[in-house]
């Protein structure tokens, strides 16, 4: 019972931390999805420079840990005179992360469109442009939906890393509360529950979509 009363006391602060986390996650996916689409187009572009740049952005965005990208933006870039607020740095790092992951998911989705669709489109005399934008892409994007939802969940959890650059999100809020009364077990359990309450149903919805789409494939 004492835990519940303690938690009730922490809740207002924790909710404002959660708000910051959700805000960063929202920004990172709202900007990350379209950028991911652009990157997936760049990676398959005919132009060598565009393709190389696209590949580099995707490989670094996926290959380097999110924490490293975060530190690079927050601690690294100011040394070149480019300084961000911690929350901006967190958003930028996660946008990059989200874009890189989304681009791979979109690319795989586009690749999963059956060959017959392309053949039918070609046989009808549709242009390459129409074939890509009206036939291939809508179908590819559709099969990318569960994966993209997964990226959203990953980004929400990834906001916890912004703790590392002192963004007042959920994790940092929990840590601050914990360092006042040293009841770490209580406060981090609450933090974990806050994350789980959002991540778990989101995962279930994703799985539901995945199953539904597998059935209709």
């Amino acid at each position: 019972m004492s835990w519940l009363t303690a938690w009730a006391g922490y809740l207002p602060q924790m909710m404002s931390g959660l708000g910051v986390s959700l805000m960063i996650a929202a920004v990172s996916i709202v900007a990350g999805y379209p950028l991911g689409l652009v990157l997936s187009l760049m990676v398959r572009a005919k132009n060598l420079a565009a393709r190389t740049l696209g590949l580099a952005l995707v490989e670094v965005g996926r290959g380097a840990p999110a924490l490293v990208i975060l530190y690079l933006f927050y601690y690294g870039l100011p040394k070149f005179g480019i300084a961000f607020e911690s929350i901006t740095a967190a958003c930028l790092a996660l946008i990059w992360n989200a874009a890189a992951y989304s681009s791979e998911i979109i690319r795989a989705g586009i690749q999963s469109v059956p060959r017959g669709q392309l053949e039918a489109s070609n046989a009808l005399g549709l242009s390459q442009r129409d074939t890509f934008f009206r036939i291939t892409m809508p179908q590819g994007m559709r099969s990318a939906i569960p994966g993209l939802m997964g990226v959203a969940i990953q980004m929400f959890q990834g906001t916890s890393l912004a703790y590392g650059i002192a963004v007042p999100e959920l994790m940092k809020t929990a840590y601050n509360i914990g360092s006042q009364d040293f009841n770490y077990l209580q406060i981090f359990t609450l933090a974990g529950l806050c994350y789980a309450v959002i991540s778990m149903p989101a995962t279930w919805i994703t799985v539901f979509f995945e199953k539904r789409m597998a059935r209709h494939a």
Binding site: A120, G125, L126, Q128, R134, P138
Partner: protein, 261 residues
């Protein structure tokens, strides 16, 4: 390859197909070995033969879904020679005069039946949406599926999907129709729906090339039967004559195997 514009399209209302000395290989694997075939306008040609004979590949050469390594293709007044690039607009023009129906239907799953039939008309022929939809409804009615216009292909049976696919191909007013095993993915009775649509089309005088395993259809409907085996045409001529008395031992073996099933 190059495509010259139709030289005599105004003089000859219906156009045939002349494929000469077509060869195609994938790496070391020969698929077509010096194959020639002439199809007169307004006739139906049935292509039969064991799997792996190269029938589908040969059919796909007609609308350049496959590019042959050698040979000349004359289709609907266009001439294509290997070794020269084909510009995209010419290719699209050729393809819109040659309709194609696939074994696996290949309807666009994200569009309704109506949109499947209308969309290519709008984009390839530049018809307005109203014009295209009116034509689509006409064709859907002709294949007996007017009531499915608003449905997505996923909600239609295989036979219905294939008939919609035929309507989609016809909507571009092709002068030639290619069918690549159109009933192989269907249950026998459902296949009949599709075959009856094809019979009507043949009766209307459409130039058709059909790769098929439906021997009865080949015998009753086609004007010319072409038997392929081992990357070549081994025999061609009147379907009834070939079926009752094949000249080649290879044809006899194939026919016996098919008819005994």
């Amino acid at each position: 390859m190059t495509l010259s514009p139709p030289a005599d399209s105004k003089l000859v209302p219906r156009l045939g197909i002349k494929l000469d000395n077509i060869s195609k290989r994938y790496g070391d694997h020969v698929v077509l070995d010096d194959v020639s075939l002439h199809v007169e306008p307004g006739t139906v040609t049935a292509l039969i033969g064991p799997s792996g004979a190269g029938k589908s590949t040969f059919l796909r050469c007609i609308n350049l879904l496959e590019r042959p390594d050698a040979g000349t293709i004359r289709v609907a007044g266009h001439t294509i020679e290997p070794g020269k690039a084909v510009n995209g607009r010419d290719l699209a023009a050729l393809r819109s005069t040659v309709g194609m129906v696939f074994q696996s239907f290949n309807l666009f799953p994200h569009m309704t039946a109506l949109k499947n039939v209308s969309f290519p008309q709008q984009r390839v022929l530049g018809r307005s949406k109203e014009e295209a939809d009116a034509r689509s409804m006409q064709l859907l009615e002709r294949v007996g599926l007017k009531e499915k216009a608003g449905q997505h292909p996923g909600r239609c049976s295989g036979g219905q999907q294939q008939r919609i696919a035929i309507a989609r191909a016809l909507a571009l007013d092709p002068s030639i129709m290619l069918f690549d095993e159109p009933t192989s993915a269907l249950d026998p009775e459902v296949g009949l729906e599709v075959l009856s649509v094809m019979r009507e089309l043949a009766a209307d005088g459409m130039t058709m090339v059909v790769v098929t395993h439906e021997m009865q259809f080949a015998r009753d409907v086609s004007d010319t039967l072409v038997v392929m085996a081992d990357c070549k045409i081994i025999e061609q001529g009147d379907p009834k004559a070939i079926m009752s008395d094949p000249a080649e031992a290879r044809t006899r073996r194939f026919l016996r195997a098919v008819l005994e099933r």
